[in-house]
Symmetry: D2
Subunit: 396 residues, 4 copies
Amino acid sequence: MSTQNPVFIPGPTNMPEVLRRACDIPTMDHRSAAFPEILHPALEGVKRVLKSTEAEVFIFPATGTAGWEAAICNTLCAGDTVLAARNGMFSHKWIDMCNRHGLKVIQIDVPWGEGLPVDAFADALKADTDHKIKAVLATHNETATGVVSDVAGVRKALDAANHPALYFVDGVSSIGSMPFEFDGWGVDIAVTGSQKGFMLPAGLAIIGVSPKAMAAIDAADLPRTFLDIRDMKKGYEANAYPYTPSVGLLNGLKTACDMIEAEGLENVFARHARIADGVRAAVKAWGLDLCAVSPDLYSNTVSAIQTPEGFDAGRIVSHASTRYGVAFGAGLGDVAGKVFRIGHLGMLTDVMALSGIATAEMVMVDLGLDITLGSGVAAAQEVYRQSAAAMALAAE
Amino acid sequence: MSTQNPVFIPGPTNMPEVLRRACDIPTMDHRSAAFPEILHPALEGVKRVLKSTEAEVFIFPATGTAGWEAAICNTLCAGDTVLAARNGMFSHKWIDMCNRHGLKVIQIDVPWGEGLPVDAFADALKADTDHKIKAVLATHNETATGVVSDVAGVRKALDAANHPALYFVDGVSSIGSMPFEFDGWGVDIAVTGSQKGFMLPAGLAIIGVSPKAMAAIDAADLPRTFLDIRDMKKGYEANAYPYTPSVGLLNGLKTACDMIEAEGLENVFARHARIADGVRAAVKAWGLDLCAVSPDLYSNTVSAIQTPEGFDAGRIVSHASTRYGVAFGAGLGDVAGKVFRIGHLGMLTDVMALSGIATAEMVMVDLGLDITLGSGVAAAQEVYRQSAAAMALAAE
Amino acid sequence: MSTQNPVFIPGPTNMPEVLRRACDIPTMDHRSAAFPEILHPALEGVKRVLKSTEAEVFIFPATGTAGWEAAICNTLCAGDTVLAARNGMFSHKWIDMCNRHGLKVIQIDVPWGEGLPVDAFADALKADTDHKIKAVLATHNETATGVVSDVAGVRKALDAANHPALYFVDGVSSIGSMPFEFDGWGVDIAVTGSQKGFMLPAGLAIIGVSPKAMAAIDAADLPRTFLDIRDMKKGYEANAYPYTPSVGLLNGLKTACDMIEAEGLENVFARHARIADGVRAAVKAWGLDLCAVSPDLYSNTVSAIQTPEGFDAGRIVSHASTRYGVAFGAGLGDVAGKVFRIGHLGMLTDVMALSGIATAEMVMVDLGLDITLGSGVAAAQEVYRQSAAAMALAAE
Amino acid sequence: MSTQNPVFIPGPTNMPEVLRRACDIPTMDHRSAAFPEILHPALEGVKRVLKSTEAEVFIFPATGTAGWEAAICNTLCAGDTVLAARNGMFSHKWIDMCNRHGLKVIQIDVPWGEGLPVDAFADALKADTDHKIKAVLATHNETATGVVSDVAGVRKALDAANHPALYFVDGVSSIGSMPFEFDGWGVDIAVTGSQKGFMLPAGLAIIGVSPKAMAAIDAADLPRTFLDIRDMKKGYEANAYPYTPSVGLLNGLKTACDMIEAEGLENVFARHARIADGVRAAVKAWGLDLCAVSPDLYSNTVSAIQTPEGFDAGRIVSHASTRYGVAFGAGLGDVAGKVFRIGHLGMLTDVMALSGIATAEMVMVDLGLDITLGSGVAAAQEVYRQSAAAMALAAE
């Protein structure tokens, strides 16, 4: 696989060179005075990206899965009940984790391609008058289906029911790329990783924790050490870590936050929307449908594209890889073989996006799908031309 | 702190440029055919460094602490009993972790500076006739005290007692730098990390697991997901990971194994011994003592050096950092303020070691200790001259 | 200008990461035994790329202009006569250099877009019965017009006239990308640089010198020191340079030759032809013409594309840069404002080429040219699909 | 040769990582608007390092030798007379270049180890009443002998004689490391390179040119194109180069100037003096002499150290390289075999310097010289301790 072409997987993303260099630094003594100069700005940067003034941010040298696990282990007790929906591979996996940790899960199954069932959540919360539900789990952006859900709506449901449950949100493939309002949405723990919106290598599990969730930590009895927020908090207070931190990745995270803020968080979101619009215009020009069932659910970080009945979508991914050296995402779980995914998150340019669209076209034609070469490219070009013109005008 | 000077902390080590570059690679699709070309050689390389033909190796995107936790979570049940000694900060922390996970710990306290109490272990194992002890925990090299222990001796004690307990060894600061015999010593789980003998950034918890330990996994009831060996094993069998792997670090690990084997594992051990001899010659010339109480306990990866009664050894570390831009290790736990540490593991040259020794001398004289400038350097130079001459002769 | 998009200038080219790293090495003593391990393989690699068994290769820490100057200074005397054609900016500049060095130039002017006037050269050589012409200068690939000329034909003209003149060829934008036969074409000095077919940063002037040209060196009286081949030759014989060499670039050159040979020189040429075919198919689909007046002159490293009468082609270059962050080449000299250039040399993929073509389309539509979005992309996609399929078939 | 140890050659120097990265950038279109953002700050930065308000700076993609050649070719005519002293290898080479270009050289031979013969220059200039001497050539710092000369004194001699000759100074191994006053010393052309005080790879010839020297350019008749200042000047005025520039190195130069000015030019000089003092203290402790005959001539960038009569100093260099992986400089020309050189220029720390001194000691003892291990280190440690203490005090 050529390393010259961009990747179009929904994370890890294409890494800007400045971030690769921020991560690749000589060995630094993590107990020296230089370390807090990296740690604290990284923590503060994440807070701003989360749009929170009150969250405490903790960063584990791990991945998003550990972030989920940190959320539940640090706040819940064996036997506690949680409420969750299963509408894609990642919500599925989080539920599985809860089961393994001895939690009881009220699981609401939703067809893949749909969003969080806000109404069903509202009903379940209203029905839970004795507050057995200790936490509600929501996947903001289902990476498997390209579906972004109504996280604010679930908060409204909680509030409407006057329900005290903690609210945990998986924002792994949304935070830093799509609007996320930690405080505004009343999130108690938000989970993300380094390799998506932050454009870094995998290796950091990043969580934001509300004061309410912090208050639950001492009573939580699920065993944990590596992921124990208490040790981490104590460490930060002493400018240190409870174990050896990933100094390079933390420096990358600090730099990524600087980079995001230099572009402007809203501009980053707008860029993701713009790039995604181009991809969606191409999909439409190809005569194909997204997995996401309605436009309000369209993700700006990944598009899962349905291929015609009877066609194995996985062939697109493998053909693109072997013949053109380009990586797309395969369908997972319930939609395996039915969709292929174009990831369009992180630091992407219009020009890069067009190369992915052009490649997808060649692949689909090679495999006999009824696609016109250049059709999707032309549709995306039109989107990018107009948005570039509008930006140029605005900058005048 | 200058990044031009080597660091002399006991890990993370100075990183050879070839390893930094192996870690810093463009984004690769971890579901592509290129990934197993990295994963499997890394796993095989670790096996050879462990000197094992039968271990299964698992690599978590985490740190050594997670490696310890993976060992206990995957093999033990809540309420199980383990046998452990506390002779330094890292054995202390592992015991603490066991307590947090609801394990019962038979803890043998040993003065810091001493090694594993093989006889006491033997007694405890003999006494445990109904085999309540499910696992014995040993720290091969106590990074806090510069003490290397008799791991083989504990195995002998297990065998002498005909005891079925699993045998877990923390080899974080020994594996890849000092002789380690996974099969030969009958180790069931060996734990290490990327940032010591493998000369990489922190971010990988690496464990080797014996068939006997593998057999214990299904029955283990401590909750885990991120660290679940079962998911990891299933992933590897499909050339994949249960979540996003640290592809760059894995590529670094593969390359580090190649590098170690190109030099020759025994040569790497000999180099560590040689460099350490020079440091110890300097310590002797300074008229100071090591924390390790006898020569058989001297670690070849880190020397903890006792400073005179009444002198705060921590001042050496901070003065070296602020005045000369050089990082040494501070004393931890029971020996905080009493020792400072010179780390000498990883890819170090004689010339680099001499610069650390020369700096330590300046620092100690600056701080009023009765040290003769050049004395330790001269003693180390003599060691390095002679060993270099011997190697040159051998190479003829 | 984003550094994420490929560049489409006709050199310096997009640099493969492996070559950037080969250039970016720590300081090495260029008088140590490590240096000849870089120098000699680099010299030998260039020889093979030149397809020569007898050339001596010299590499100056300079650029192609210095390569031209080295050719004339080391072989000619003030007042000597040379024969040259002016059919583009680079042949123009070489002639200008000859004039500045007091050489008499028999200059044959040719419309830009045409190739070397082999017949006119033949006539001039035949007419020069007393052999006043000491050297014939030929530009293999006119980077300004995208014209590749018949270098072999000029050799035939020399031979037909039985003329002893030296034969100097500027292969700056052809060597390593298009077929070049130093021995086969009877070239006496070939000139190239690091930043084109060798895919490196600018900074090396590379020349191959035939035994016949070497024999002319002592008699040459044009003054030179930095570019004196005699000093360089003496240096190489002692594994050294007459002054400080660009060790990093030389290491890059060695690695570039390895890379070219690993792909196969003929495969590299075929890849350039294939990529160029795609670009030319796009140009045709746009309804535009190349500057090169006939297909036999089409360069596989750069296409100069004529824009409609009255349209300032320079606007394409500046608009592409400011609006889309993509660099194309402007028209130079006689064709300034009349053409824009797409460079397609060096390590390019189909996918990268498509992104350049797609960008050019957006730019031309933005600027009001009558171009259909997607049309050029579709034409190129067809070329790339078919060639990729053919290669896949051949590899089976 | 290990790349982990610092080099102690008198250039190329150890490169700070930030400068390596500044040089190693992705391909940039040198005709884009991004290029002048690199070029002009680099030119301005050099001017400030030269301490000139009126010099025009020109940067050729070449080396210091080309800088010398640019100085003479652009200002002199064939047959012109220049005045120069030969007191080391680099003054010797410049004289040789003048001879090759048909200049007449009034050559004053001086024993190697001595400085510029200011009095002899004064006499020659006074005697030249008809102003045949068109230029005076001075080597500020003789890298071969570690001798820094009185450049200001020669200017005084010129002024005393009221002589209109141009004044050219080779500052290759002094500029950026030792005080240099372009305007203050009335220098007409100063020559330096990228690989010494600017801490970059070799590959840039950097010259500063006074208005008086600029005025001589049109009349100069020595042939030149690659090194023609006129083309370069015209290029800069159009934000461009007459040929492909070394964009990476220029970006490195810009960054190096920023780095030097962030430290403070006077602080950089003081650091070089301090490091050199330590080396000289070591030499004295070893009982050896410098090649430089008196303290006022001691160079702060390189020390040439005399070895005892009958001992081949070259053995030190080769033994250090093969046995300890450390590069020192060999003796050149008249002092070949009689001296070895420790380069101590560029971004060096005390700690790095001590490692070089410690290595030299081991080497000399290995080779049977009567040196006490640790003696030179101790002397240098004392210098570095005291200077570090003084700096710490000053910073309070």
